[in-house]
């Protein structure tokens, strides 16, 4: 049971480049989330999804896009990378209902935009 997995672990992008951060979970969770964590700051929600085909914006969605074509996968797309997007990105998932609401986190992707 792998839980929540993320790839890549590290990435350096040049300004203006694009990339996709991958996230997958094998716990059959309906809810999935993307957070970013800047140094010395808490987590901020970028986007979330309540099930396949359904996504919505969080606190800081600008500059990002998501899709949820399957229950397992929730990729985060960065278009036209900017230095302000340098951060550590965490993907998380949780059960829909009838169970615990805690979120299970992936190991994170450290992204640097220069």
């Amino acid at each position: 049971n792998a839980g929540v997995t993320q790839t890549p672990k590290f990435r350096i992008l040049k300004i203006g480049q694009s990339m996709t951060l991958q996230c997958a979970q094998d716990m059959n969770h309906n809810y999935m989330y993307w957070y970013r964590q800047d140094p010395g700051m808490g987590l901020k929600l970028i986007y979330y999804s309540v099930g396949a085909g359904i996504t919505d914006k969080g606190e800081v969605p600008n500059g990002y896009n998501v899709s949820r074509s399957t229950t397992e996968d929730f990729p985060l797309r960065l278009e036209l990378a900017a230095p302000s997007q340098t951060s550590v990105y965490f993907c998380a998932s949780s059960l829909l209902a009838g169970g615990p609401y805690e979120q299970y986190f992936g190991p994170g992707t450290r992204l640097t935009v220069t």
């Binding site: 929540v4 809810y31 989330y33 957070y35 010395g40 700051m41 808490g42 987590l43 901020k44 929600l45 979330y48 309540v50 919505d56 969080g58 965490f90 949780s94 615990p100 609401y101 805690e102 979120q103 299970y104 986190f105 992936g106 190991p107 994170g108």
Partner: protein, 114 residues
């Protein structure tokens, strides 16, 4: 706007000391409060609190919620160097479009020295 404030932001103690970490929250349609421990990478779940006055315990860690005063505390007794981490508090909304969103505080960085 939902807000979660943790204090202190950082704390240095000696092994064996007892520490109390604070978390105050203003969360629309509050449903629950969660505590996470973050060491090097992904946060790991500690507690979820939904009812006032009921202490949750896990070994040397315990936490309690006060829904009237809108705060929670996390206690760690007989601290060990392995307790060194950032402790994150998060408030969860309970209804509407944001019913699955967590609002995180900035965290308390705890350093336990031998």
């Amino acid at each position: 706007e939902d807000k979660v404030v943790q204090s202190p932001l950082s704390l240095v103690v000696h092994e064996g000391d007892t520490v109390t970490l604070n978390c105050s929250y203003e969360v629309t349609n509050f449903r629950s409060l969660l505590w996470y421990k973050q060491e090097k990478k992904a946060p790991t779940f500690l507690f979820m609190l939904t009812s006032s006055g009921i202490e949750k315990k896990s070994g040397r860690l315990s936490s309690i919620l006060d829904k009237k005063e809108l705060f929670s505390i996390l206690n760690i007794t007989a601290t060990q160097t392995g307790d060194s981490a950032i402790y994150l508090c998060a408030g969860r909304e309970g209804s509407g479009a944001g019913s699955y969103q967590l609002t995180f505080g900035k965290g308390t960085k705890l350093s336990v020295i031998p």
